[in-house]
Point group: none
Chain length 220, copies 4
DNA sequence: GATGAATGAGTGTTCATTCAT
DNA sequence: GATGAATGAACACTCATTCAT
């Protein structure tokens, strides 16, 4: 089983790839630190390279341009958040419908390792580079997949949503979070805020469910 | 000769202000056009001045710096949108609760004179300059005032919302709209999209109302 | 005697010229104030006009360009200082040779109405515009004349100086003062500083006198 | 092959520093040339970079801003002049007291490689940037040190000067030189001018010595 | 003569990116 | 692959000066 051997001995065996991964990680971490510390202002490629402990030339060996760094950082964090949200939706944390939604909201709130300033800066950066759509792609994919999967296992939280409804639901939640981050609202990580987000999602879902029931009753 | 009188009076009565207002308007219009055409990329102070037909020096006589132009443009458009939303909420267009919400959503959707690209560019610009909070100030003021006023006239649509709930409601709607603009969603001005936004707002409000009723019943 | 009448009734009679003189004085005073307050940095024509309470257009009616303002201010102050120095040299204050020199040094030290920052700024401005020579013209004229006049009245302090010696003597004193101003030396208005300047001038003059005596003795 | 060895070692031993030193030297030389040719007028960062044969970016890699270039150039020349003056004072050229002073004056007169216009421009630039004090620092340090050292070797030219006297002596000489440069006096490099400077310094020193002798006699 | 809105040439400076070593 | 010195396009902004009213 070369695969398992490779996996276990990852760090020693594949010097080139391991090195590369380390370098990339160092650069992204440096980028996050700089954004957290000084926002978009001090975020220059030279600064990132220096903090990452690599030369500017090396940085350009791994990232095509400055935007690519921000995008990679954003995607990394979105990926982490989505993984956590997936756990939440699977019912692994709390199997009740409300429990799932609440866990999802909580995961979303605590994304980006709590680095609020960096989160804000990344939002600003992604926006100003017009990379919003690109960043939303994994979200789209994720929700599409999860709508389906959750449906199968008879926990039809998102199951019957049309694509449009999925859009409205996900973007309303993200929109509220985004605004709270950008406006640096103090209640961001508070329980009441979480409660209202849960309410928003559940109320919207309930409205859809009710309508569906009514129309199917009418059809009978 | 009302026309000539008006003209003469125009020049005499408000010599400075009229000129200034024209110049400012020309600059903002030029800024909007440039953003609509080329996004943030070609948006330079010199380009704006040139398109506005004024010298760069004149531009700086009215705007402290580049950011001030974007902010002024954004605020202008937000002001126009809020005025329209105020009409909607007053019931002037459709007095039923749902009618009011729908009119509000419609006003929000059609804001920025339909210039979607410019709207997107302004969003990006405002974000990347960290002016988000500044731009939201009139929104905050507006919703606060309207919650109260609507309440007085026995149309308690927003009347009983806590500040937090107001935040969640307004930002969820704005967030969905923003995402649709930024992702350039084709359904942006469609009726089904409007329907879902209306649903989102109504469902959230209903949930709050229902909870309030339940808790007051329990108190009895 | 039209002259005397004109002189006495100056302020009332010649409206145009009086007005002009007032305006010019206001502009120079404004310039001095701005230089005293903010140095060369905030010294713009618009700022001067505003502080002088005239429009920028009016300012340009009296001064060809920005340099002309600085030069006029400098010349005004040099003129005042030279007038005071003339009194000193005339023996009006103290008739002894040392007394005259000391009075002269004192007048030079206290020139520019004690506005040290403005004095420094004016020096910097005059220098940076290459107007040094122009400013020194009245000095040259003054010393030339005074060398002669003082000679006539048998107080040959500067009487026997060659032009070169005059240059060295005047510029050494001015140079020391200039350096003290530019380096913002705390001892600028102190008695010991004054003493050393007096010594410098007297020692130089004594050296010349002694040499002259020796050579005339040798000639005998 | 000492030449080739040196060349190879040059590139290897001090790869960064050698390059940097060359570049810095080229920039300073370019700055001097531009000032010599056109005075302060044509002295722009882009012009300096171009004449130095480097890009504007490179220039900014070595100098923080425009002022830094002028200051560096001035300090370089002051350093060279002081080194020459040190030789003069050490008696290396002429050991008699007068000989030392004369050699010092001569070194001061011939400073700045004879580039009078550049010297003038640098003076103007340094002044207009308010860097006079900064430039005088090495002079202060130099005279302080030399007063002491010369004293030790029983040639107490400056040895007994108070700080104030040192100031007056150095600045009077510098002041005369400065004025001669700024006013573009034709006698600048003439022997009579040199003679008068020597006289100025010697007379001042003699006056101090005589007074010291008198007061110590009185104390006896 | 007075006004002050308009002008626009001119400049310092940044920073993403390249490429010779 | 790594380095980092060099690049230079790009831009915001100032302010002395003009001239129509």
């Amino acid at each position: 089983m070369p695969a398992s051997r490779q996996a276990t001995e990852n760090k020693r065996r594949i010097p080139r790839q391991a090195r590369a991964a380390e370098t990339v990680a160092a650069i992204l971490e440096a980028a996050a630190q700089i954004l957290e510390a000084g926002g978009l202002a001090g975020f220059t490629t030279n600064a990132v390279a220096e903090r990452a402990g690599v030369s500017i030339g090396t940085l350009y060996q791994y990232f095509a341009d400055k935007d690519a760094i921000v995008l990679a950082l954003a995607q990394q964090q979105v990926g982490l958040a989505l993984a956590e949200i997936a756990r939440a939706l699977s019912g692994e944390i709390d199997p009740t419908p409300e429990g799932r939604v609440r866990a999802m909201v909580r995961a979303a709130v605590h994304a980006f390792r709590g680095r609020q300033r960096a989160r804000k800066a990344v939002m600003e950066a992604v926006l100003s580079r017009g990379q919003h759509s690109e960043l939303m792609l994994p979200v789209v994919a994720f929700v599409a997949e999860h709508g389906a999967r959750v449906g199968k296992i008879r926990q039809p939280i998102f199951a019957r949503l049309t694509p449009l409804q999925t859009f409205v639901m996900s973007r309303s939640m993200i929109g509220v979070l985004r605004a709270a981050v950008l406006e640096e609202q103090p209640f961001f990580k508070s329980r009441p805020f979480e409660d209202e987000l849960v309410r928003l999602v559940l109320a919207y879902l309930a409205s859809i469910t009710k309508e569906a029931a009514a129309s199917s009753a009418a059809a009978r």
